[in-house]
Each structure stands twice: as structure tokens, then as C-alpha cells.
């Protein structure tokens, strides 16, 4: 079983992304912001973070940095999803440690493919 953690302050977005990436062999965890995501992730086996950028308490950029600083989590892939499509936003996401950057509205098939590829890469490690 692989665990995907969806981090977004909008419950409807979490529900939508959960619907898209759920499969029988995946566990989906949810968090409303970066603080909650870190609390839940520490001590849990997470195989992929799906992270919104703009969130209260701790935004996606800072969450990325915190994940990369954490010995237990630093190798976990991160897909950032943002409403911001400017090149500098993608660049900032990659600088903070994201592996992939997607802009909203996400293409459902694209998201499914990227998640499958990332989970597959993790499985081969």
C-alpha cells in the first residue's frame, strides 16, 4: 500500500483530488495546512505529498522546505498545485524542494498519470 497525503485548506479540493488519485492499493491522508501535514506525516509512512501553495498557518512553499529539512521525510516526492501560473512561482516551488509543479485547474488525467509515475518511482527505489 502506498500513502498519498493531500494538503489543501479547501475541503472540496481535497475531496476532488482524493477522488482522482484513489485506487484500491493507496491510502489517502488529508491535511488542511502545512502544520497539520507535518504533524500527521511524522511517524507515518508517506509516499507522496500533493500540496496546495496558498494555505493559512503554513503555506506550501514552507511545507516543502520543512519536508526537505526533515530526515524522515526528505526523500518523499512532492507535487505542488497552485493557482499561480507565473514562471517565477514554479521556479520558487522547485527551489523549495518540489518535484513537480502543476497549475489549477489540474487536468484530471495528467494528475493521475503524474501521481502513478511518482508512486511507481518510489516503489522502484
Amino acid at each position: 500500500m502506498k500513502t498519498v497525503m493531500i494538503v489543501d485548506d479547501a475541503s472540496t479540493v481535497r475531496m476532488f483530488h482524493k477522488m482522482l488519485v484513489s485506487t484500491p492499493d493507496r491510502i489517502i491522508e488529508e491535511a488542511e495546512n502545512g502544520v497539520e501535514a507535518l504533524e500527521k506525516a511524522i511517524g507515518t509512512q508517506v509516499d507522496l505529498f500533493l500540496v496546495d501553495v496558498n494555505m493559512p498557518k503554513m503555506d506550501g512553499y514552507r511545507l516543502c522546505k520543512e519536508i526537505r529539512r526533515n530526515d524522515a521525510l526528505r526523500a518523499v516526492p512532492i507535487i505542488m498545485i497552485s493557482t499561480e501560473s507565473a514562471n517565477q512561482d514554479a521556479e520558487r516551488a522547485y527551489q523549495c524542494g518540489a518535484n513537480y509543479y502543476m497549475t489549477k485547474p489540474v487536468d484530471a488525467d495528467m494528475l493521475k498519470s503524474v501521481v502513478s509515475a511518482v508512486i511507481g518511482e518510489s516503489a522502484n527505489e
Binding site: S11, T12, F16, M19, K57, R62, T83, P105
Partner: protein, 213 residues
């Protein structure tokens, strides 16, 4: 000097500053302290200036230049009460800041001051920047105002940016009422191929109808 007990349990305050703070400081000295290199001195200045005449103007001028998270937090706490319409434009400018704490602080400040937010919502609704309009929707989602649902309807019906509309629908999923059902078909037809918008519309319909039963 070395035996003096701390009156309040505040960590990392230099002894010099603690001693200086025992003596009354003028408003001018406190304003000057807001620009100190020592973040403890700046934080105490915020605390001691709070409630003084024109303190809000000084705090709002300081905020864009402040980089210490604890001082930013103190500044926003000090601004929570008695904020006036004349301060609104400075707060709303922070919605465009790249500094996340400033932006989130401005959002929370507006949520705590619904009448001031209400006076500016029309301007924000027509801001050129879709991210600013999304933050406006975020404020509406948490503000206790009788017009909140109506504002979200206007965003959903009129905004051309699909992410702004998507965010407005996110918030409607939490606070929609039966009047929302009347606009959903129109919104649905504006974005027929947008899977997320179609998903949330379906969710809202089920929630409102379920709530009626």
C-alpha cells in the same frame, strides 16, 4: 543589577533593554524603537504603543518592512481592534504581498472587521489580479456578514477566471443556501468542461437539497 528579578517571563530580552523599559518612554522613543535592530525591542515597542493615538498608522507603516515573525504577529494583534476605514487601503495592499505572513495577517484582519471589508469588497471583486480576487473570496468564506453568500454568487456568476470561480464555489460548499441552487445552472453552463467546477456544483446541490430534507 544582576539580582534583579524579571517582572514578566519574557525570554531573550537584553538586560540593558529591560532596565530601560522600567522607565517611562515617550511616544517618540517607542516609535523609534520600532526600527531597532533588536526584535525584542521592536516587539515591546508594539506592545507599549498599543492603544495610543495614531498607533495604528505607525504599525501599518512598519508592517511591510518587518521581517521577524513574532513582531509581525504582535503588530497584527495590536491592529485587531479599532481599525478604521482609513486604514483599510493599507491592509488591503498587503493582500498583494509576496510575504505569506503579511498576506495571511491581512486576510485575518479583514475577517475580524467585516464592516470595513464590506465597504471594500466591490473594489476587490474587480481587482485586475485573480490572486487578489481569490484572497477576497477567502475572506468572504470566513467573514460573518449577511451579504457573504450574495458576494460569492456574484463571483461565481461574473468572474472570468476559473480558479476564482472554483474558490467561490469552495466557499459556497460551506455556506450555500437555497438561493444558491438558482445560480448553479448558470455557473455550470459557463464552465461545461471544467471537471472541478462541475464536481463542486454537484456537491453543493446535494448538500443544499440534503439540508432541506
Amino acid at each position: 543589577m544582576g539580582l534583579k528579578k524579571k517582572v514578566e517571563p519574557v525570554a531573550n530580552i537584553s538586560e540593558d533593554f529591560e532596565e530601560k523599559r522600567e522607565h517611562p518612554r515617550t511616544t517618540e522613543q517607542l516609535v523609534s524603537d520600532l526600527n531597532s535592530d533588536d526584535c525584542d525591542v521592536r516587539r515591546w515597542a508594539v506592545r507599549d504603543l498599543s492603544g495610543q493615538k495614531d498607533a495604528h498608522d505607525v504599525f501599518l507603516s512598519r508592517l511591510p518592512h518587518e521581517d521577524d515573525p513574532t513582531v509581525i504577529e504582535a503588530l497584527f494583534s495590536a491592529l485587531e481592534h479599532d481599525i478604521s476605514e482609513s486604514h483599510a487601503s493599507q491592509v488591503l495592499t498587503m493582500l498583494k504581498s509576496e510575504h505569506v505572513q503579511l498576506r495571511n495577517g491581512a486576510i485575518e484582519l479583514m475577517q475580524q472587521n467585516p464592516d470595513i471589508f464590506a465597504a471594500n469588497v466591490n473594489m476587490l471583486m474587480h481587482d485586475d489580479d485573480p490572486d487578489t480576487r481569490i484572497f477576497c473570496v477567502d475572506i468572504i468564506g470566513a467573514v460573518a456578514h449577511i451579504e457573504a453568500v450574495n458576494w460569492l454568487h456574484q463571483f461565481a456568476l461574473n468572474d472570468d477566471n476559473e480558479n476564482v470561480v472554483g474558490t467561490a464555489l469552495d466557499k459556497l460548499a460551506e455556506i450555500a443556501d437555497v438561493s444558491t441552487l438558482e445560480i448553479l445552472q448558470t455557473v455550470e453552463s459557463r464552465f461545461p468542461n471544467h471537471s472541478y467546477i462541475q464536481f463542486v456544483i454537484s456537491l453543493i446541490r446535494n448538500q443544499v437539497r440534503g439540508g432541506d430534507e
